[in-house]
């Protein structure tokens, strides 16, 4: 269902969505972040890449799994803590970040399903925005099977057309949002559709960075497991882990217990994001570590994204958002690494 919404009417639409928590990108001290909308009239959808992807709303950096305590008789008790009911709409989702959610959907959706993830995921509606211009100089979605106007994973795709938005409703969830304020929308004319096509074509041309020959990457990587290449590439890494914490597709996590009291015992078990870039990630309690150095950990990050995940799920675990490049303090560049892999003898 294709509609047109004037920019002037946009706040009125948001105001009709009171039954949801509505998120959109907000600029805070020069950095963009998905936050709950306080004032729909001040909404701004001209955002650059947010520091964290909207993944954080569905799969938060820290969440409680269960609470435990001991009863007066000394018997331990465990109480499951599932996320509260929380219907949410996220506006301004970049197509790469929506695609990323389809990837984590597969991991957390494989049996046995992850109940925490799905409780939030099922209640979240994703409203995307065509990237025109690209939100980062390091965007490379076209290289990994995406595009600046990809609909994958989205419920609605909005495209900025000057003083109005083209609104493409893609799912039942999307329809529902439009029905909440139906009179604000006009049907898209054939002229609008032509205009849209032109914008989308242009948006693709604005993506400047590219991985060459990506189809051959998984096979190439397979043969490079033992290569000293990884030592060279990991040399400058300061193992801060930011590449993985900011990645919209990275899903690895830790489970730990946090105590609030020891006598009587009281505490919670929490899940937190974790990263393959930390030595502790794989270190056995004996001290043995299958991935003992920066080289083996960079190799794991690259091979997980471009070989193992492809073997397991037939898709790259990367959507080309460019965050890991833009925000690496040492300038490690995943596109450069992949292009070197292709040229590797």
């Amino acid at each position: 269902m294709e509609k047109i919404l004037t920019k002037k009417s946009f706040p009125a639409w948001i105001k009709k969505l009171q039954s949801y928590t509505v998120y959109s990108p907000e600029k805070q001290e020069n950095l963009w972040s998905y936050e709950v909308i306080q004032n729909p009239d001040k909404l701004n959808l001209e955002h650059l890449n947010t520091v964290l992807a909207p993944k954080k709303i569905i799969y938060p950096q820290r969440e409680i799994f269960l609470q435990f305590n001991t009863s007066k008789e000394g018997k331990p008790q465990i109480k499951e803590v599932l996320p509260e009911e929380h219907p949410a709409v996220i506006f301004g989702v970049r197509p790469c970040d929506a695609k990323a959610i389809t990837l984590t959907d597969k991991v957390f959706g494989e049996e046995p399903k992850d109940p925490y993830y799905w409780s939030r995921r099922n209640q979240t509606i994703l409203v995307g925005l065509t990237c025109n211009p690209p939100p980062s100089p390091n965007c490379f979605c076209l290289s990994v099977g995406g595009s600046p106007h990809s609909k994958e994973g989205l419920d609605i795709l909005m495209t900025d057309m000057g003083d109005k938005y083209h609104i493409d409703s893609l799912t039942k969830k999307g329809e529902k949002l439009i029905k909440a304020a139906e009179n604000l929308f006009k049907p898209a004319s054939s002229k609008d559709k032509k205009e849209l096509e032109k914008i989308q074509r242009e948006s693709e041309k604005k993506i400047k960075r590219e991985v060459k020959d990506i189809k051959n990457i998984p096979d190439k990587l397979k043969d490079m497991f033992e290569s000293p290449f990884w030592d060279e590439e990991a040399m400058s890494c300061i193992r801060c882990g930011i590449c993985t914490y900011l990645c919209p597709t990275c899903f690895c996590f830790d489970i730990t217990d946090e105590l609030t009291s020891t006598l009587p015992l009281k505490g919670k078990r929490v899940r937190t994001w974790d990263t393959c870039q930390f030595p502790d990630f794989t270190m056995h309690s004996s001290g043995h570590n299958p991935r003992p150095d920066k080289a083996s950990r960079l190799r794991q990050r690259m091979l997980h994204k471009f070989q193992y995940h492809v073997e397991n799920y037939q898709d790259y675990l990367c959507t080309g958002c460019g965050r890991c490049i833009s925000l690496c303090p040492m300038g490690i560049d995943i596109i450069e690494i992949l292009n070197k892999v292709i040229d590797h003898e």
């Binding site: 109940p115 990630f281 794989t282």
Partner: protein, 274 residues
């Protein structure tokens, strides 16, 4: 929604046996679930044990699936959770979730000779499959155990090992010479070479420290065992147990669900990163 996979079931510790004392202590725990549930395991599978407040640790189940009254775990005191487990007493309550992982394909081994080769605490995962085979002894050929540890004090299941001698061939070893030791002196792989188990119609199952496994496989290959006749288990740090937390992988495999049991034929095709 289905049952929440991350919520452990409470279980009571009904027996604790000190297997090994000293700086690398090992204790065997028997546990019983407080409430009946559908937990049912196969040989070689693991369970995630919880000490509330300390966390979780993946431990292989050393009791046979034929044993319905309890689950048994033999645990080397090593990290935060295993140290906490070593401080527990009979009657205390822990959490258990699982079982996790694949299992030894013991159904396919009917009619074959089984050679169990263990080092140190590596006898724990073997114990489950060994007892399952013993229980159905007529289904299998000759059963042999080659087992060793650093010193005689580090051998687990000592009393049971003595009794086991009556039912199957048991070849014990210690790494260095000691007074009154009548068994073999040397490393486990050397003992394998010394005892020369025949590869004819045989399957070997080896568990122990990674370095021991590596040399046992070499010794078996020299004796003429083919890759598909050699089985082992792999360990890695684990958190979720269901192939989601991302840390126990060897290549595309998550050990918690695609392992821990591998034939050498399979394992050698994966990146050697474990």
């Amino acid at each position: 929604m289905n049952e929440n996979i991350y919520i452990p079931k409470l279980a009571k510790i009904i027996k604790i046996k000190e297997e090994v004392s000293g700086s690398r202590p090992i204790k065997t725990f028997r546990t019983q679930f407080i409430e009946k549930n559908s937990f049912s395991h196969q040989c070689g599978q693991c369970a995630m044990l919880s000490v509330l407040g300390k966390g979780e640790s993946m431990i292989s189940i050393s009791s046979s699936p034929f044993e319905k009254d309890f689950l048994q775990f033999s645990i080397l005191k090593m990290g935060r959770v295993t140290s906490a487990l070593h401080e527990t007493e009979v009657g205390e309550i822990i959490g258990i979730r699982g079982p996790y992982g694949n299992n030894f394909p013991i159904e396919n081994w009917k009619g074959k000779n089984l050679i169990f080769i263990g080092g140190g605490i590596g006898l724990a995962p073997i114990w489950s499959v060994l007892h399952t085979a013993l229980k159905k002894k007529k289904d299998y050929g000759k059963l042999t155990l080659i087992y060793g540890a650093r010193t005689s004090k580090d051998l687990v299941f000592k009393e049971e090992l003595e009794k086991l001698n009556e039912k199957m061939n048991v070849h014990l070893s210690v790494d260095v010479e000691e007074k009154d030791w009548k068994g073999y002196v040397g490393f486990v792989p050397q003992n394998v070479t010394d005892k020369k188990p025949s590869p004819d119609n045989s399957i070997s199952i080896t568990c122990g420290p990674p370095i021991m496994i590596k040399f046992v496989i070499k010794a078996l290959e020299e004796l003429g065992f083919e890759d598909g006749q050699i089985y082992t288990t792999v360990e890695n740090k684990m958190k979720c147990g269901i192939g989601k937390c991302g840390r126990c992988n060897i290549g595309k495999h998550y050990i918690c669900k695609d392992g821990p049991v591998y034939s050498w034929a399979e394992l050698k095709t994966l990146p050697q990163e474990y």
